[in-house]
Amino acid sequence: MERACRTRWTMCLTILVLAFTLGGGTTLVFSAEKYPEKPVNAIIGYAAGGAPDLIFRPLAEIAQKHLGAPIVILNKAGGGGVSGSLEVAKARPDGYTLLMNFGGGEHLLFPHLEKPPFDTLADFEPVIMLSYYPSGLFVKADSPWKSLEEFTEYAKKKPGELRYSHPGAASMVNLATVTYQKMAGIRLSAIPTGGGAPAMNMLLGGHVEAAQLGVPVAWPQVEGGQIRCLAYSLPKRAEMYPGSPTYVEKGFDIRFAVNQGIAAPKGTPKEIIQKLHDAFARAFQDKEFQEVLGKLKFTPNYLNTEDTAKYIKEMFQYYGEVVKKFGITLEK
């Protein structure tokens, strides 16, 4: 082939490839009775390797046997879960796109702080609720504060002196401390970090006096005796987290939890939702999955489709009230 012709060929091929990839694919329409006919995409709105992966990947493995089609987990990180959620909100309601980690801070708390590109109550059909985890206030095992009261006392005497690390400004986990400070009338210095692990490392390294962490992230260190939990944010004590009190019993009505649920885009036919629910419910009951939940310290909380919808609505309103009552804004 002549030289110039060959290079032009290369360029054309290059351009073609570029165009093709940018064009993206199209989906065909499938019917509800024969659902599922092809693999189901389950979107996790966080980067690969995060806590949601640890729960949802095993769940999907087990559930796909009951569903009768492969469930493919896709990580679409961005905006703290917002990108993934938006993608599902905009997807075709044909049951082939699902949102995992539904019921997290990005759905229940964030909308009250800033207008998100989706509407938690209007854009999603809840399918099932699986579990949740609370957040807790932790200090090092050798620190002088043995209880929340002692910590609060000290903070009252020295406002702004105590520093605590947390996973991020708009996170559900941080909300617990912000509310605690407002309820107790104290001021702590907040050190934001990029996630649970960096926040915990800061505590372990002695750079901060306390840390507000999601309980699953912190619990291995508690069991190892490195850190102590001053309180965690559940309505009443859970067997899973022995030896530590709740905020509620200390007089602070703080009941924030990050939920792990599954949702489909609004408009997904009821039969498909039912099939999905049944598959995931059976996976949930599987002994191995229960063990995973237990070992990772997530509190099981199964709710069926209707109850999930009610729960989400309740929680959404609850967080809205908390935000309003304490005047919580993103700037804090």
């Binding site: 940018l22 390797g49 961005g78 002695g206 291995p220 260190q221 190892g224």
Partner: protein
């Protein structure tokens, strides 16, 4: 001796056929994933994690670890052959590795890369074995102030790595820093410079930038060169490194191992930072710094060793204190938890089979990787024989698919192409593109660490000098800057003298 017994025990565990199989699967998968641009060990481990539920904890961890350090071996392959970083950390290997390939020395580059990785990985395992707990405690004491000082040092060192004019390198580096500010600010939660585009809210990832600026721009440069008939592809001059190569690489490998290990134990310490630091150090101590950027084997040996040492080092905080220092380690932590193993200070004493078995398997795995990669060198260099008109479009496909695999984001693919074009323009205008990557990575890390440090000290800058480690690092920065300033001033004075005469 107790240590010897433990090591022997570890080898017995590692050499158990069952575990050997998983080790092999892990390192093989890791190598292949490392070779594919974009896809990294994190995605692979996340994907394979459920599989490990059905197998006991020791083989699980052995396999996952194998994927992790295997990917570091494989990542340099495409960096050297076609100037595309297979792994974000292999960006540095592109600088001199690809130049060596253009000079017909792809074989020695790949060979030294594998050998350096093996030596670094092995030494890393030894240090891990002997010093894990005290090192882990040292790592924890590295707080935001120390991090900020370390990153400042890294930025200064990076200014040295450009092979062209310094001012141009600084300009590109500054552009990188600016690009790094795009996205939601970690400290305040405010979105910055996202132009209202939601996809920009998490900033510009390093992978689209690296693959675009190195890989896609390389394709564009080659397409243009094909047109002008000036592609010079020297024929292969030997598959294996020469004795001279070994002599040249020995010290860089050792230095790279040290740097890589130290940076690797830090929580949040990144492989890229360690390989860039190693490159900068090699260039600084070399007697022929002008060779860097034009195929200096030290520029491959050092960084490749650094990033493998960093991989071994990443296990230190996890195995000795139960703290994950990066996302991959967090997954390993998850795997441990799911198997009912509580990582923490007591892991070494309560789970000796696990600890020593994993250590033993890391030796074995490194040896397997060397055995896998060296013969493959002969195979890989054949890739260079593929005619460009087929190779280039394939490269584009691999790059774009690789980027898509990470987050399923069309936007990131678009960014990759955009940076590819940008990289092409920069190369035509004779700018060094490596500082861009450094800026994009180090900028946000430095800013976060710096601001966290100030938050901790409640606004006082003294935290950077009152904390001993930070003070030492800043001292090194000061010395480096002072040396350059004195040197430049001296030159200036000499010029005056000459003119007078």
């Amino acid at each position: 001796m107790d240590l010897l017994t433990n090591v022997m025990h570890g080898f017995v565990v590692a050499l158990d056929p069952h575990n050997l199989l998983y080790c092999f699967l892990g390192v093989l998968a890791g190598t292949l994933i490392g070779v594919l641009p974009g896809l990294g060990p994190l995605a692979a481990i996340a994907f394979l994690l459920p599989v490990t539920f059905y197998i006991p904890v020791v083989p699980s961890l052995i396999m996952l670890a194998g994927i992790y350090y295997g990917a570091m071996y494989g990542g340099s392959t495409t960096s050297i052959l076609v100037n595309i970083p297979g792994e974000a950390a292999s960006v540095v290997t592109c600088l001199d590795g690809y130049q060596m390939a253009l000079q017909g020395r792809a074989g020695p580059a790949l060979g030294i890369s594998a050998i350096g990785s093996f030596i670094a990985g092995s030494i890393g395992v030894v240090i891990l074995m002997l010093l894990a707990p005290p090192l882990a405690r040292f790592a924890l004491s590295f707080g935001p102030a120390e991090f900020a000082s370390l990153l400042l040092l890294a930025m200064i060192v990076v200014a040295y790595i450009g092979s062209g004019e310094t001012i141009k390198a600084l300009m590109i580096g500054t552009l990188g820093l600016a690009l790094g500010t795009i996205g939601t600010d970690q400290i305040s939660g405010f979105p910055r410079f996202d132009l209202g585009i939601r996809d920009l809210q998490d900033g510009i990832g390093v992978v689209p930038v690296a693959i675009g600026v190195f890989g896609i721009s390389e394709v564009l440069v080659n397409v243009e060169a094909l047109e002008r008939k000036d592609v010079v592809r020297t024929s292969l001059r030997g598959i294996f490194p020469s004795m001279q190569d070994y002599r040249d690489s020995a010290l860089p490998i050792l230095r790279g191992t040290l740097v890589g290990f130290l940076v690797g134990i830090l929580p949040g310490g990144s492989h890229i930072v360690s390989s860039f630091l190693s490159y900068g150090i090699e260039k600084k101590v070399s007697r022929h710094p002008e060779k860097f950027g034009h195929g200096a084997i030290e520029g491959v040996a050092g960084p490749e060793s650094a990033n493998n040492a960093a991989t071994s080092a990443a296990f230190v905080p996890l195995l000795s204190l139960g703290i994950p220092s990066n996302a991959v380690m967090a997954l390993m932590l998850g795997a441990l938890l799911i198997h009912g193993v509580i990582p923490g200070p007591k892991l070494i004493s309560e789970q000796p089979t696990l600890f020593w078995g994993v250590i033993g398997s890391m030796y074995v795995g490194n040896a397997m990787l060397l055995a896998l990669n060296l013969p493959l060198v002969g195979l890989w260099v054949q890739v260079l024989r593929v005619p460009y008109r087929i190779l280039l479009p394939l490269i584009i496909i691999f790059c774009l698919v690789g980027v898509y695999c990470i987050n399923g984001s069309h936007f990131e693919m678009f960014l990759t192409i955009l940076f590819g074009v940008f990289g092409y323009v920069m190369r035509k205008l004779d700018y060094d593109i490596a500082p861009l990557i450094m800026g994009v990575i180090i900028g946000p890390m430095f800013e976060t660490a710096f601001r966290q440090a100030l938050l901790l000290s409640k606004g006082s800058f003294s935290i950077f000098v009152t904390r001993p480690i930070s003070a030492c690092l800043l001292g090194v920065v000061f010395v480096l800057l002072a040396k350059t300033a004195i040197f430049k001033a001296g030159k200036g004075l000499n010029i005056f003298k000459k003119h007078k005469d």
